[in-house]
């Protein structure tokens, strides 16, 4: 049994953990059920949880079991992934496909070109260099974050629920990156969205958390609709959604001749990219990610920094042939990436919530990845995805450690001076900040610099985008070091009580920090710049590894259109800009902090716009939520009850009116005629009736009178 044959176990191991937690977790950790969040004032009504104190002890063992089991399943996946990737490296072509069964098998039908086709999607896995990188990142970083969570979530209720969701997330993420077709990829795609929703809303008693989860899900759905339509269009063109077959069709060029238009390809590429903007938080669908910080910090690190949000980049890289053949779409990817990168970085400059700074930073860094995709440097995009996973997870977990130390404080204005108090957190975060700023030697430098170089030098690149990207790099260095300085340097700005209780996090949290710091330092050395020709080729292993999956020939040495001198120059330039950013941050937040206020004054409306995130949320709320959603919805609801149902009720009313009129008609006209007749008869008979009194005496009287009259007449005559 080789590791490759066990490929299907890699996603299933965490699924098993999730199933166990979500079905039986309550039994293991019943403490959770006694946690009822109620509005203030209702607490007195609460049934008192019995045995709360002793429960903690009793369930300590159960918690330990969860703490071992859930990270354990991810470790199993990691080990299996390592084994599978190792075996993959010796396979010719470095591709391994494992189909388990046919998942969706549609009915035969005719495509628009008139060819019969049948939609089919496997439950199948594809391991190639691209998915290999992804599963190692997901399971490796995922494992570290699971371990960290054992410490971070230790005091929280719903422990089993948290780990159940987290394991479920890893399952779906692995499905996403291991699927061998777009439809199954979509399973993972939506699944990670679900887990994101569940975990953002983990503290669901807070309205803001529930709101943020909903916002993330619905916004992602907009992108998903694009993904589905792109997938359908792709199927109608290629007759398949399997990566290999789509790839072959595109590579053969046969298809381009058949339809004779590249417009369709551009449409597919743009629709899929719409999906990517949702999942990877790019303009215009990025506003959910900063709000997603409502979730517990390990979630932010795993889902909203290291893995899920990079799914869009992975998907675009997976479809690289498509984007190569659709240059307009690629250009759109690059432009959106650049715009998002600088937009998010500009917002990050002035945020005060430590996690929000990191969130905008993530949006911005994802923009870099898309820029790389857009200019055709897919391996660099994946390289940055991979280094970013280390340093951004590190920064998030570090911020979590800070928040943990301060008892939940996230506002950097109430931090400061923590350097000596929590040294491990400090130094690891410094490593992360060095990495993201692009200081040579640290992971971020290698990938970011390569992106800048590719944007500058690639035939699909653009000088304008290069300028934007370089400016963004400077802003990145500034906001990240602003974060470091505000948090760790200067005078403590929290109250004395909090300050007294500041403590370094437990080992279970600091060890993952150190491991990620090591990664943030070392991970980049497999993709050093080509001009560093003094290093052997093995220092550029990353590009070579990915070459077969991205159908690129790894270029050797410096045989680029642009000279080595240019590359050295640009490297120097970006380093200078990064150092400048750090220096300004230091000047403003350590040396002369009083200048910040003055600067704010000077910036005036610009500062206000930045602090309010360019008012994009307000705009979306006004137009989409309150306008098209609630506004049109209420109008429709009124229309429905007044007009449509009004019509029905109106018909009912008309019927009743007609019925009333009929009754009137019936009573007065139809029956009236009858009664008139009877009246006439009655009236006519009146004189007669008067005589018919039925009284014998009367008759006798009449007889007597009549007889008397007759007699009289007889006599008189």
């Amino acid at each position: 049994m080789s590791f490759l044959e066990l490929l299907w176990v890699i996603p299933l191991a965490p699924l098993a953990g999730a199933a166990l937690m979500l079905v039986l977790g309550r039994l293991l950790d019943p403490q959770a059920s006694s946690q009822v969040a109620v509005a203030p004032g209702l607490a007195a009504d609460l049934p008192q949880p019995h045995g709360h104190g002793s429960g903690h002890h009793r369930h300590g063992a159960a918690r330990s079991l969860i703490s071992l089991l859930c990270p354990g399943t991810v470790l199993v996946s990691f080990v299996l992934s390592l084994g599978a990737v190792f075996e993959l490296s010796s396979l010719p072509g470095r591709t391994y496909e494992l189909v388990q069964f046919t998942w969706i098998a549609g009915l035969p039908f005719l495509t628009q070109s008139g060819a019969p086709a049948r939609f089919s999607a496997d439950w199948g896995f594809l391991l190639d260099p691209l998915s290999a990188v992804m599963i190692l990142v997901v399971t490796g970083v995922g494992f570290l974050i699971h371990v960290y969570s054992v410490g971070y979530m230790g005091h929280e209720g719903g422990y089993y629920r948290f780990f159940g969701y987290l394991n479920l997330f890893v399952f779906f993420m692995l499905m996403l990156v291991l699927a061998n077709n777009y439809a199954l990829m979509f399973v993972g795609w939506e699944g990670v969205g679900l887990c994101s929703y569940l975990l953002i809303g983990f503290y669901f008693h807070r309205k803001s958390a529930a709101d943020a989860g909903k916002k993330a899900f619905v916004m992602n759905r907009v992108g998903d609709a694009g993904f589905i339509l792109g997938m359908l269009l792709m199927f109608s063109v290629f007759g398949s959604v399997r990566f290999r077959e789509v790839h072959e069709a595109l590579a053969s060029g046969r298809f381009a001749a058949e339809t004779g238009s590249l417009g369709v390809l551009t449409a597919i590429a743009l629709l899929l990219f719409l999906g990517a903007t949702g999942k990877s938080a790019q303009f215009p669908l990025y506003t959910w990610l900063p709000d997603a910080m409502e979730g517990p910090t390990p979630v932010s690190a795993l889902i909203h920094a290291a893995t899920m949000v990079t799914a869009g980049v992975y998907m675009v890289a997976r479809s690289h042939l498509l984007y190569r053949l659709a240059p307009e779409a690629s250009m759109a990817v690059a432009v959106i990436g650049a715009f998002t990168a600088i937009l998010a970085a500009s917002i990050a400059l002035v945020q005060n919530d430590i996690k929000r700074v990191l969130a905008y930073s993530t949006v911005s860094q994802l923009g870099y990845m898309f820029m790389a995709c857009g200019v055709g440097a897919y391996w660099v995009a994946i390289f940055h995805l991979y280094t970013h996973a280390f340093f951004k997870a590190l920064l998030f977990l570090g911020s979590g450690s800070v928040i943990h130390a301060l008892g939940g404080e996230q506002d950097m204005r109430r931090m400061g001076g923590l350097k000596e108090k929590i040294p491990v957190t400090y130094w690891t975060m410094v490593v992360g900040a060095l990495a993201i700023s692009g200081i040579p030697g640290f992971a971020g430098f290698f990938s970011k610099d390569e992106i800048l170089w590719q944007i500058y030098s690639s035939p699909h690149g653009s000088k304008a985008i290069y300028v934007v990207a370089t400016l963004t790099a400077g802003m990145t260095a500034f906001y990240m070091w602003r974060l470091i300085f505000m948090t760790f340097h200067g005078k403590p700005r929290m109250d004395a009580d909090t300050l007294a209780r500041v403590h370094e996090s437990p080992r279970v949290m600091t060890v993952p920090l150190v491991a990620l710091a090591a990664g943030s330092t070392l991970a980049g050395w497999i993709g050093v710049p080509k001009v560093w020709s003094f290093l052997p080729e093995s220092f550029r292993a990353f590009e070579h590894w990915l070459a077969p999956a991205l159908s690129t020939q790894a270029s050797h040495g410096t045989e680029h259109a642009h000279g080595a001198a240019t590359e050295w120059l640009l490297m120097g330039l970006s380093l200078a800009i990064a150092l400048a950013g750090i220096a300004i941050a230091r000047h403003l937040y350590v040396v002369r902090p009083e200048r910040v206020a003055a600067l704010r004054q000077a910036a005036g409306p610009l500062y206000t716009a930045l602090a309010n995130k360019w008012y994009v949320d307000e705009l979306y709320d006004a137009v989409f939520v309150n306008g098209l959603g609630k506004g049109v919805g209420s109008a429709m609801a009124r229309f429905d009850s007044r007009i449509v149902d009004g019509g029905v009720n109106g018909a009912g009313w008309m019927t009743r009116l007609a019925s009333t009129l009929s009754i009137w008609w019936d009573t007065w006209i139809v029956d009236g005629a009858v009664r008139l007749m009877s009246f006439v008869v009655k009236a006519a008979s009146f004189p007669v009736r008067v005589l018919h009194t039925g009284s014998v005496q009367a008759y006798a009287l009449v007889i007597v009178l009549g007889a008397a009259a007759l007699f009289t007449w007889y006599l008189v005559r």
Binding site: L110, I228, V648
Partner: protein, 513 residues
């Protein structure tokens, strides 16, 4: 015995009802027990269909045929194909679960209540099994009566309004449908010289487009009211809101499917020329698309939990009718699968409202909030039902929606693009509903001590959840079962299309070029 399988399935609930009537009214627990036995038996006798049904056989299976009213040409003919198979199984399962879910909810006139349910069960099964138009019409009308009483007797405060509206509205539709049936009946006499209501015979008719169009619209009124399609849908929210929980479940899960089933079984194959008439298709698809978006938008703004779910039905059924009038294999198959899905998901959603209603006696969304804290099992079940309804992959809804979108996309890309709005809005109204009822803090003291699901309630949900997962993870058997009947319908409606596509029927999965 076994050659009467369909009749056994059809009349088991009715037999159960007659025995129920023999039980004295005061012995309510015995009545409940018996009703559940009868309901479960109704489901159990339908299970042999799973292995008796041959997915490779053409035409109708397990057919039974007897003379009934020879002077009219009405016969007792029952039979199933893949489409009715799925609907029959849905009916027997949902019927049994609806009865089980009523155990504690119904305290008055218990005997009559269960009798109505069992009678209704036979009526609905008859609709899906009948292959004679007269027989079909009888069952179609039989269904009306018990539902009228279920809403009118055991319903909410405005039950009389809702019951009468439901009854009259659907009755008006059926009258027009009857006119359509009679047109076919007399046309058949004119062409062949004898009277018959048998569907297979009526299919031999060769009618000019003009007559087909008239009959199509007559059928349309009958079926569209039942579905209900926009703008004939307003009886639905009222009926749902006032009906007792189990009534809503039956109404949504099964009764509405009678309309879509009518389109698939009768409108399409009997009136092929009218069904592909571009004007008719445009109108029907237009109404479906309006229903999808409009139903979702109206749903979004509802303050009444049950009304919200009712309007979501309008949106979901829009998908079903869109699939039918995409007039291609995936549209049709997707439509049938989505009908089953809607039965499962919306059935669950109504059961969920019912459970909250039974505990709090209100359906106003604002009365709830934070229930997940006190009713975690309930919150979990609700989450699954919501996700199944919203079309999350690996649950049933996705398979249906995706297949319908595929069919719609094939027919006209714009249709699919508009319909995909429904997917976005669907997530919005469901998640918002979930947030307002389940999440946040408990702000209403009345919600502090609500009991979580008990074992019986869990037992009602368990099979539905299992079914939702089955369709989501392994939908292949459903496509296999539907392949033949969909082929037969399309052969009648679009013969030349089918000829080309069926080049693939025998081929393995994948693409032939």
């Amino acid at each position: 015995m076994s050659e009467h399988l369909l009749s056994i399935i059809l009349f088991t609930p009715l037999a159960g009802m007659f025995i129920l009537l023999l039980i004295p009214s005061r012995r309510t627990d015995l009545i409940r027990l018996w009703a559940n036995i009868a309901g479960f038996a109704g489901f159990a006798v339908s299970l042999p269909l799973l292995w008796r049904f041959d997915k490779n056989a053409a035409g109708f299976q397990l057919v039974e045929r007897y003379e009934w009213i020879p002077s009219l040409g009405a016969r007792y003919i029952v039979g199933i194909d893949g489409i009715s198979l799925l609907l029959v199984l849905l009916t027997t399962l949902i019927g049994a679960l609806a009865i089980l879910s009523s155990w504690s909810a119904i305290q008055e006139k218990v005997k009559q209540y269960y009798a109505m349910f069992l009678l209704q069960q036979t009526g609905m099964l008859g609709v899906f099994l009948a292959l004679d138009f007269f027989l079909f019409f009888v069952f179609w009308e039989v269904v009306l009566v018990p539902m009228y009483f279920i809403i009118g007797v055991w319903g909410g405060p405005r039950k009389l309004y809702a019951a009468i509206k439901f009854f009259l509205y659907t009755l008006a539709g059926s009258v027009l449908m009857l006119l359509g049936i009679l047109t076919l009946y007399f046309q058949h006499f004119r062409q062949f010289g004898y009277y018959t209501f048998e569907i297979a015979e009526l299919m031999k008719l060769d009618l000019p487009l003009g007559i087909q169009q008239w009959v199509f619209w007559a059928f349309f009124i009958g079926f569209a009211i039942k579905v209900p399609m926009f703008p004939f849908h307003t009886w639905l929210p009222d009926a749902h809101v006032e009906a007792p929980t189990a009534g809503s479940v039956i109404l949504a899960s099964i009764l509405l499917k009678m309309g879509t089933y009518g389109f698939i079984r009768f409108s399409l194959p009997l009136l092929p020329k009218a069904s592909i008439d571009p004007r008719i298709v445009k109108i029907l698809v237009g109404l479906s698309l309006v229903a999808i978006v409009y139903g979702a938008l109206v749903s979004l703004m509802q303050q009444d939990w049950k009304k919200l779910v009712a309007y979501s039905s309008v949106s979901h059924l829009g998908f079903c009718t869109l699939g039918i009038f995409a007039l291609n294999p995936n549209g049709l198959a997707g439509s049938v699968i989505q009908q089953i899905n809607h039965g499962i998901s919306t059935g669950m959603l109504f059961l969920i409202v019912g459970i909250a209603y039974e505990r709090r006696h209100t359906r106003a969304i604002a009365e709830y909030g934070g229930l997940a804290h006190v009713m975690p099992k309930y919150a979990t079940v609700f989450a699954i039902a919501m996700l199944s309804s919203a079309g999350l992959p690996l649950l049933n809804g996705f398979i249906g929606e995706f297949t319908i979108l595929q069919g719609a996309f094939e027919a006209n890309r714009l249709w699919a693009a508009i319909a995909s709005l429904g997917i976005i809005l669907g997530a919005a109204y469901l998640l918002w509903l979930y947030q307002r009822t389940m999440l946040g803090q408990i702000t209403n003291p009345k919600n502090l001590r609500l009991p979580d699901l008990n074992l019986r309630e869990l037992a009602v949900f368990a099979p539905l959840i299992a079914w939702a997962i089955w369709i989501g993870v392994y939908p292949k058997p459903y496509f296999e079962v539907l392949e033949k009947p969909v082929a037969e319908i399309l052969q009648r409606v679009r013969p030349e299309y089918w000829e080309k596509a069926s080049a693939l029927a025998a081929a393995p999965l994948g693409v032939l070029r």
